[in-house]
């Protein structure tokens, strides 16, 4: 169990002064992941094009205390894999002494969609790296367009809730499962650190495991975006709790092929608790759309049951 007091003394490796929105979950995720680095270890961080990149590294400034590289939208995994390959060669040839860790960040657009091929390639090749997806469920940087991570029913600018079509009609892709199917050493799904929850240190613990497990590792972190979710910044973490308690976003890990449920809600809450406070789902609560909520609930139930089986909970 990590000690919060000690962790808080560890200097942040993503500094303040970056330009992410108030209430954005991405920098929280980044800082908790980077906290898991041993202070003596160096890192090269990488970001796909997206909110995180354009807000943390504007010439001539950078918020990253470690070396950082951005090259394009769809290739953070390939880019960091090249950095890692070079490190391996240089280390082998005695050109470098320090220990480096390699961590790439991407939103769901750069990870689930345009960057999926590059991610799959890097994971399969088994580079000693961690890829962290901060999944906020849409292309937020370009103005809230739907991605394959967008939940069913969400109103986005390319899956708008209209008179005929009630928002996104498809259910979200399960990327964590896709990466688990790569049979890499470590895959985990988690949420940002929320004080007072039993899973407060889950992200930190998983980041530490991911960073210090040799080979490719992947973390999928549900990350709040108040702009896209149309929610209140002051209560956004309650929404993350709701995502966990409704089993919309289960917290689990797959270590060397073994599934483990890291948190099981004492009482599984109805999906409306996750949907209701978010403006992007408001239209679902019109009487004519009630059937959609039932469909969404059924899909969450089905996936949760399947996961319980995988985790040996059933």
């Amino acid at each position: 169990m990590p000690n919060l007091k000690e962790l808080s003394k560890k200097p942040a490796r993503l500094t303040g002064g970056h330009r992410m929105c108030a209430g954005c979950g991405a920098p929280m995720v980044v800082n908790w992941v980077l906290k898991a680095l041993k202070e003596e270890d160096k890192a090269v961080t990488c970001s796909a094009t997206g909110c995180l990149e354009v807000s943390t590294c504007l010439y001539p400034y950078t918020a990253w205390k470690d070396s950082f590289i951005h090259s394009a939208f769809e290739n953070a995994a390939a880019t960091i894999s090249g950095v890692e390959a070079c490190y391996v060669a240089m280390k082998r040839n005695g050109k470098i002494d320090d220990t480096y860790k390699f961590i790439a960040f991407g939103g769901d657009g750069g990870t689930y969609d345009i960057g999926l091929q590059s991610l799959s390639g890097a994971m399969e090749r088994g580079h000693d790296m961690v890829y962290v997806c901060y999944d906020n469920g849409a292309y937020m940087n370009t103005g809230i367009q739907r991605s394959s991570a967008t939940p069913k029913g969400a109103d986005t600018t390319t899956s708008p809730a209209g008179k005929v079509i009630p928002g996104k009609t498809q259910t979200r892709k399960d990327l964590t499962e896709i990466i688990a199917a790569h049979n890499i050493p470590y895959v985990a799904q988690t949420v940002p650190a929320i004080p007072g929850t039993k899973y407060m240190f889950d992200l930190y613990n998983k980041a530490e495991k991911a960073i210090y497990t040799k080979g490719a590792a992947f973390l999928n972190v549900l990350t709040p975006c108040p702009r896209g979710w149309r929610c209140d910044t002051s209560t956004e973490l309650d929404l993350i709790k709701a995502a966990v308690d409704t089993c919309f976003w289960p917290i689990y890990e797959v270590e060397n092929g073994v599934y483990k449920l890291n948190y099981k809600p004492a009482e599984k809450k109805p999906i409306t608790e996750w949907l209701k406070p978010q403006g992007r789902f408001r239209h679902l609560f019109k009487p004519e759309n009630e059937h959609l909520i039932a469909e969404i609930q059924a899909e969450v139930d089905r996936r949760w049951e399947a996961l319980l089986h995988l985790c040996g909970e059933k």
């Binding site: 504007l58 010439y59 894999s81």
Partner: protein, 391 residues
């Protein structure tokens, strides 16, 4: 001591890679460049190099991994052709603007569509404005020599740009030729170690690839353009040093029997070999013909070319690509632009030839020279021509 060997162009380039022993090669197979990473991965498997070979899942990732590895301070190379180069497009510009001296063997092949695996120059010519240095070579010897020199050109402190080493698919890549190879130690000494001005793995952390808004973007592009200008001098310096090592002379272009030529041809890559044959034959018949073979297309040696063409009356510019401008193909455009204001009354037609691997014979080339003589005599000629196509 150099040794004489019989190798295909791809083998020669892969051997150069082995002798250079880069930090990282990241590549994806595509005909006709596939053999390069194939041979290289065998060198890795046999422990003949200490490089990391990254067998990526696409050319886009190949160039992305090369960018990451080069940003990490490594010496990095890859190979591709045709659609593979097209898939790298986005990353080509990023490699160049990030000033990363990646070396890329472009084994020239027609760009789809329609799909065609044979040689023309539509792939690399499409990438001519990506900010990469482009060096072209006629045969396996030149592909090998250019590849070794490319390391020094790209990594020069005044340049710091990626380099494409282009040679013709199948004709050069697969045909086995006799060539002279340097000793491993000679290559090692010639290329030295890469000294990267900034590295992700360096003493101090660095940030690369920032968002670059209007206050700075323009200055960065200006610096990039300056680096490309600097490359011209560096190409010649490196060539001079290479000549000392091997006795083989290189410049920005090669002049063949141009001394008193009245009709000349400007051409790129392997067809220059065919054309030289024609020049010899026509010279034996007393006709004053010559040839210029472009080696450096980026940077383009405009002033030098104007000087070399000063005394010719007519010059045919040969493009193994159609630019679809309706006006002129890429090389033709460059040559005419270079000659503008410096060539009053000069006859400068363009010929598009050999698309998709269509054979170009000595008769075809001779017919071009004959067109030029007719144009000199009558003053009449077509500016935009196709050679060897059924109309």
């Amino acid at each position: 001591m150099a040794k004489r060997v019989s190798l295909s162009g791809n083998e020669a380039v892969a051997y150069a890679m082995r002798q250079i022993n880069p930090d990282v090669v990241a590549a994806f197979p595509i005909t006709p460049s596939t053999e390069v990473p194939q041979y290289f991965s065998q060198f890795v498997a046999n422990g003949q190099v200490t490089s990391e070979f990254v067998a990526v899942e696409s050319e886009h990732s190949a160039m992305s991994a090369c960018i990451g590895a080069s940003a990490a301070g490594g010496r990095v190379m890859t190979a591709t052709s045709s659609c593979g180069l097209a898939l790298m497009w986005e990353m080509l510009y990023i490699a160049a603007s990030s000033r990363l001296p990646v070396v890329l063997a472009v084994v020239n092949r027609a760009l789809s569509g329609p799909i065609n695996i044979h040689n023309d120059h539509s792939d690399s010519m499409g990438a001519r404005d990506s900010g990469w240095i482009q060096i072209y070579g006629e045969n396996a010897q030149e592909a090998y020599d250019n590849f070794i020199q490319a390391i020094r050109i790209g990594e020069h402190p005044d340049v710091q740009l990626p380099v494409m080493v282009c040679y013709d698919g199948f004709i050069t890549s697969h045909a086995v030729e006799n060539l002279e190879m340097c000793e491993d130690a000679e290559v090692k000494a010639f290329v030295g170690e890469r000294v990267a001005p900034y590295s992700l793995l360096g003493e101090n952390p660095v940030a690369m690839g920032p968002l670059d808004l209007p206050p700075h973007y323009f200055e960065h592009k200006r610096q990039q353009a300056e680096a490309m200008r600097n490359a011209k001098k560096v190409i010649l310096e490196v060539a001079a040093e290479f000549e000392k090592l091997t006795g083989r002379k290189y410049g920005l272009f090669e002049e063949y029997k141009m001394e008193d030529a009245e009709a000349a041809m400007v051409i790129i890559n392997s067809t220059a070999g065919t054309a030289k044959k024609v020049v010899d034959k026509m010279r034996a018949e007393g006709k004053k013909v010559g040839l210029i073979k472009i080696r450096s297309f980026r940077p383009f040696p405009a002033e030098e070319l104007v000087a070399a063409l000063k005394n010719v009356k007519a010059v045919a510019v040969m493009d193994k690509v159609d630019g679809f401008t309706g006006v002129a193909a890429p090389l033709h455009n460059e040559v005419r632009s270079a000659l503008y204001g410096a060539a009053e009354g000069k006859i400068v037609p363009g010929y598009i030839y050999g698309l998709g691997g269509r054979d170009v014979t000595v008769n075809d080339i001779e017919s071009v020279y004959n067109d030029l003589f007719k144009a000199i005599e009558t003053g009449k000629y077509e500016v935009y021509n196709y050679l060897g196509v059924r109309e």
